[in-house]
Each structure stands twice: as C-alpha cells, then as structure tokens.
Amino acid sequence: MSQTNLGENRMSGAFVVSARKRTIQKGMKFAGEGLLFAIASFVAVVVLFIFFFVARDAIPFFQLRGFAEFFTSTSWYPADAPGEFGALAIIYGSAMVTVGSALIAVPLGVAAAICLSDVLPFSVRQYAKPVIEMLAAIPSVAYGFFALVIFAPLLQNFGGPIMMWAWWLIAGPFMILAVIVLADLLTSKDGEQQSGTNVKRVVLSILFSIIALGFLYWVGMSLNAIQVMTGTNALNVSIILSFMALPTIVSVSEDSLQAVGRELREGSYALGATRAETIVKTVLPAASSGILAAVILGIMRALGETMVVWMASGNSSHIPDPWYNYLDSIRTLTATIAGDMGEADQVTGSARYHVLFAMGLLLLIFSFISNLVSERIVVRQRKILSGQ
C-alpha cells in the first residue's frame, strides 16, 4: 500500500522533505484513514439501508389499509379479495412464545451463569462452556426439525404425563425447601432458642409437608389428565426457543457477574454470609442491570427466531382460548413473513406483499429499541462498577 512507502520516505528523508512533499504525505495518510473509516462505517450504512428499504415497502401497506386494522383486528385472511389484515393474533402469538421461552430460559440461564461464575471450579467450567457454545451453534432449522418431528409427537401422545413429571421434578424440591424455611421462620420468630422450639418445628414441618404433598399431588394429577390436542403448540415452541435463548442469557449475565468485583464478595463473606446469601443479597443486585440486558438480548433472540416457530407452532392465526392456553397452536410474526412471502411475492405492490414488510418493520423497531436499551444498561453498569 502507498502508506508503507510513505513511511519509508519519511524515515529516510525526515530532514530533507520539502513542505510540499509533507503535504502530500499528510494527504495520503488522511486518505488512507478515510478509506478505513469508510469501510468501518459500512456497517452503519447497512443498518440505515435495512431500515430504509424495509420501511419503504412497509409504508404502502399503512397507506392502503391504515393502522387500526393491523393492530386491533384478529382476522387474518390476506389471500381473500378484499383481504383482511388483522395482525393482532399474530403479534399476540409472538408475544406469547417470547414470554413463554423467557419464563423457562431466564431462571435457568441466570442460575447457570451464577454457577459458572461463582460456584464451579475453573476445571469444570472449561467443560461447561463448550456445551453452551454448542447449544448456540446448532442451526435453528435443526431445532425446528427436532421440535416438529421428535418433540411434537411426544408432546401430543404423552403430554399429560410429561407435564406431571416435570411438575414433580421441579416443584418437589422447591416445596421441600419451602417447608423447611417456613417451619424455621415461624418457630424462630422469638429470637432465642426455647425448649419447645424443636418439637414445634417438627410438628409444623409435618403439617406443612402434608399440605405441600397434597398440593403437589393435586396439581400433578390435573396436569396428568390434560389431553394435548396437538403437539405443534405454543408450549413446544417456547421450550425449544428457551434452548436457543439460553446461551445468550448465560454468557451475557456471566460477564456481568464477573464484572462485579472481588471486594464486594469478600466484604459479604467477612460479615458471615453464606455463599448463597452473598450472591443473592450482594452480587445479584450489583449485577442486576447487566442481567437485565442479558434477558433483553435473550428475549430478542426468541422473538426474532423464524424456523422453529414456522415449523412447530401450528401456524394458526388466533388468540388461544383461554388467553394463557399454551397447548394451543399459534402463529408468529416471523413465521408469517416466512410462510406468506412465497405466495405474496407474485403480487408485488399489493397490500398482501407490503403487510409482510410492515411486520418486518415492527420486528426491526423492536429489536432496535431493545438493543439500544440493553447497550445503555451495560455501559451504565460498567461506569458505576468502575467508579467504585
């Protein structure tokens, strides 16, 4: 490159260069840096272009049909003449699977991140990391295939028992903990140890255990009795999407947990807190904003995912009845774009074509806002932590 020569020139002729030559050198350097800058700003240009071109094809839809129908109606019949373009049920479907996957992935992901950053020794961590990376690397269409061909039939045939077992395995241990803590809290209220405390605690424990067991059994049985009508439903998609959101949540929250300094932890330990108390009362609050950023990024991953929802959500455009029924088929924005473009592509210029871009614009705006928010959060946390 010219700049390489330029450097040699300056070396050899540092004492003899004329003013004119120096100007040329400076100009060349400037041009080189300008070129680099131009390439680096290519990304920004691309972002602007994406917004421009998606919006350019989205706006005609709103001109043709207005905003009200798109956001408030649930009748989606784009192929009819004249078509109906109520996307409310589709937007709701997107929200539903996103919330569902977040409900699964956030507790799991944050717990895993805590474990990776504070609990596991380094040697074990080295084996856990590749697992997370592999979960992130598996292509979305492979997850979709798994959801459609393997998981959906399983859910359809054994949905009730599967949910019952999941309930027992997840809620069981937590119930035991709750009983122990509750009994403890109720007996040690007075502060000092009394002679009757232990007896009281045992009695209370037994009492609570019976109540908890009854509750577990009742919920388990009602879950077991549920007949799953179709395996391609919101629950299926939420579970698979949570697998896909997990790596993002784990790695970003782990970074933020690591960013909380050693001093905070040591201070807490010195005051006699256990590890759990240190993490819950000291580390998590300090890292909370970073974890929030992680959650936002994970949610975006689930909201923007196409293949899994397209293959395994059932693609039926209606709001489930009742509204929280995760065992019903739904349809999402991404799946609608992917699925309807094949037919709408032939009729470029129609509302049917532009409505898909309107959906794309909606997704784009959403992802843009959440990205900005999460970025702002991370920057602020870094500032606060480094300020201390």
Binding site: I39, A40, V47, V54, A112, T348, S370
Partner: protein
C-alpha cells in the same frame, strides 16, 4: 434464621445452579442423540435388492454379476405371488358384477401395497415417476408395507369421550375362500427372500444427486449449495470485517461518531434473521437487481451482512489481545503505524480472527431465514461455479424445512431429513469444535 436452615439453603442454591447446567447439557443431548441416531440411518441401513438395483441403474455402482444373480433369486421367490395375483384376476372375471365390485377396492389396495413393496407388478403400465419404478429400498419400509398388507386399519369410535382408537384386523379375512387367501401367508414368510435385505453403507447419500425429489438418492446438491452460500458470505464479510476491526481498534477516536458506529454494529447483530431476508429481497433483488430473481450471489450478500458484526467483534477482540509490547517494539524500530499493523499485529491476531471467521462460517451455513427469499429453491440440480451469479441453489438448511414440512411424502423420507440435519449439524459443530480447539491453543500460547 436457624444456622442449619441457612446451610441447607446454601447447599440447595448450589444444587440449583449445578442442576441448571446439567439441564442444559441434557437439552443438548436430547436434541443431538435422536438426530445423530436417526441421521446415521440414512447412511447405514438394511438395503433391499431394489436399493442395489437403483444404485446400479442410476449411478452405475455395484457388482453386475452379483446383482443379476440376486435378481434371479428374488424373482424366483416373487413368482408365486404373481401367479396368485393372476389366479385371482381370473377368478374375479368369473364373479357376479356386485361381488366383483366388493372385492375390487380391497384388491386394488393389495396391489398398491405390493407395488410399493416389490416395484411394478406384471401387467402394470411402466410408471413414469422413478418412485413407482422401484419397490421398497429399505428393509424397515418393507416391513411397514408388510404390516399394511397383512392388516386392515380400523378406528373404534365406541367411546365418544376419548379420541377414536386404532385397531387392526387381518386382511386375509376379507379374501377367505378365494385364490388370493394364501398370498398373505406366503408374503409374510417369504418377504426376506423376495427383497434380500443386507446391511448397506450408502456413502452415496453424501455424494449422490437426489432422485425424484429426494425420495431416492443423496444430498450432494444441498451440501454444495450450502458450501457456496457460506463461502460466498465469508468472501464479502471477512475482508470488510477485518478492516473495520482495524479501524475500530487502531484508528477510531473516542468520540460520538465512533460510539454511533459501534451502536450500529450491535444493532446489526440484533436484527432478526428473517428481516435480513426481507432486506435482501427488497434491496439486492428488487432494487439493485444483482440477479433476475433468487441467486447464490444475492443469498451470499445477505448472509454476509448478517455475519459481519460477529466477524468485526471477533477480530476486534483478537487485535486487542495482542500484547502492547509487540506494538511498541515495532514502533520503536521505526515502523509506521500501518506497517506495524500489517506486519506485526495482524499476524499475531490472525489465529483469533480466524476463530471468529470459522464460527461465522458455521452460522452462515446454518441460517435459513435470510436465504428463503434470496437464494434457496427446494428442488434443483447442482450448479456450476459459473452459475452462482444467476442461479438459485438448494441448500441443506432450507431443504430440511422443505422436506419436513412441505414435501408430499414427508413421512416416508424421514431418513433423508434426518440425514440432512445430521450433515448440517456435523458441518456446523465441526467448524465450531475446530474454532474452540484453535482458541484453546491461542490462549495457551499467549500464556507462554
């Protein structure tokens, strides 16, 4: 709170963390194990004589004499079946019209199943589609056909509260007393002699072209398409990404403009993949018109934009990881900044940059949504390197979707779908694995 309780809570807190990591590993296993075991069945299976004949006729592979011998052998076993069919045909001719009609639909079904199993029966018109020219090429399919032949599927609607239950009755009951009755028992006992199953290793699954919309043959066209798309994307994204990373790490000043550019980078990383597809369609195909309609070029460009932020980030990290002393030594020897970057920093950062590039390559190979509108077609032949500017291509990711959700015989070609998923996952995971190993080596080297 009691100290004992606090200890229990602490332990269970640890347990929750460990459990969640174990759950993630389990999730990985639950996804991978069925895909691997199902995918291997596309390569290793009990192949029938029909399979060997198909491979010989279409791809010219196989031992001709051995094939002729086996064909003779299986024909020998099939002859009684054909004789029974002929006998029943003659019997039908002699029946009353009403009685004949009654047998007719049942008999047609028997003939259809036998056709599926053994290929065209004597007296059938030579079929046009390849899928009707051969019988069951895989033994497990033949066994399913056999079950279909031997039993009639019926549904029990007696209990209105639950879904109808399936049950089977022997088909032979319908033909009791006719010349067709012995056929069922004969086929049941002689199926193996008629189809001669033997273990096959069908490596051609990877390298053969597909036949009759993936009902037979391999997936070479898809693998090649995936390769073109991913490599094309890297061709555009890699140089751009590395140069941008150089700018960000070496030249960018800490000002508003730079932070805007960084923001743009993370925004691009967060754009949903389907929106990239929309953009590719609206910009590359409808506006710039890089090609008439879908093409590998348009798909590669779209994928390139998608992986660009990942490459930039990885390259930035790799460049920042180069020790400061390298830079200072080079500058101290009188090299210019640009010379230092090209001859000292980039070579030192190269393994890290390549790690990022490999991971991006895997991501580009696995993505589906961006290529749906820009590059992918469901049926297509392999395309030459010269056609990438104008022609669309089949690709693994898209065809997995297409075969699993839209193919007319999706249930019969599960093995092809599994094989494709396994191929795609192997490509992606092997790339990732090599990236992980490479990174481990780098960190060892940097530690000294």
């Amino acid at each position: 709170m009691n100290l004992g309780t606090r200890k229990i809570l602490d332990r269970s807190f640890t347990a929750v963390g460990v459990t969640s990591i174990v759950l993630m590993a389990l999730a990985l296993l639950v996804v991978l194990v069925p895909i691997i075991s199902g995918g291997l069945k596309a390569l290793f299976f009990q192949g029938t004589i029909e399979h060997r004949q198909l491979v010989y006729n279409e791809f010219g592979r196989g031992d001709r004499e051995e094939l002729e011998r086996q064909k003779e052998q299986s024909q020998e076993a099939r002859r009684p079946v054909f004789a029974m069919l002929d006998a029943f045909d003659a019997e039908l001719e002699g029946m009353e019209p009403a009685e004949r009609r009654e047998y007719r639909s049942q008999y047609n079904h028997v003939r259809d199943v036998l056709h599926d199993m053994l290929g065209p029966l004597p007296g059938d018109i030579e079929p046009l589609l390849l899928r009707f020219q051969y019988g069951n090429t895989r033994w497990e399919q033949a066994e399913e056909s056999l079950h279909d032949l031997l039993y009639v599927t019926k549904w029990d609607y007696s209990n209105p509260n639950v879904m109808a239950e399936k049950y089977f009755t022997p088909r032979v009951d319908e033909f009791q007393g006719t010349a067709l009755a012995p056929l069922f028992a004969y086929v049941e006992t002689h199926l193996e002699e008629m189809l001669l199953p033997q273990p096959e290793f069908y490596w051609g699954f990877i390298t053969d072209r597909s036949l009759d919309a993936h009902i037979f043959g391999g997936i070479w066209a898809e693998i090649q398409g995936t390769f073109y798309l991913a490599m094309g994307a890297m061709l555009f994204a890699f140089p751009l990404g590395v140069i941008a990373a150089i700018y960000f790490t070496e030249y960018a000043k800490d000002n508003f403009l730079t932070s805007m550019l960084r923001s743009a980078n993370s925004t691009l990383a967060g754009v949903p993949s389907i929106v990239f597809g929309l953009f590719g369609l609206a910009f590359f195909i409808n506006t710039v018109k890089v090609s008439e309609s879908k093409s590998v070029l348009a798909g590669s460009l779209t994928l390139a934009i998608m992986v660009l932020p990942t490459i930039i980030r990885a390259a930035e990290e790799a460049i920042l990881a180069v020790p400061k002393t390298y830079r200072e030594a080079s500058l101290g020897l009188g090299a210019t900044k640009w010379r230092t970057i090209v001859t000292v920093i980039l070579p030192a950062a190269l393994p890290g940059i390549i790690t990022g590039a490999i991971i991006s390559l895997g991501r580009a190979a696995g993505e589906t949504a961006p290529i749906i509108f820009t590059a992918a077609v469901s049926v297509g032949a392999t395309i030459g390197l010269a056609d990438v500017f104008t022609e669309p291509t089949p690709a693994l990711s898209w065809n997995i979707y297409n075969l699993a959700s839209e193919h007319e015989a999706a249930n019969e070609i599960r093995h092809v779908q599994y094989g494709m998923v396994l191929s795609l996952i192997s490509i992606v995971l092997l790339l990732n694995m090599s990236a992980i190993l490479l990174r481990a080596r780098i960190s060892k080297k940097l530690k000294g």
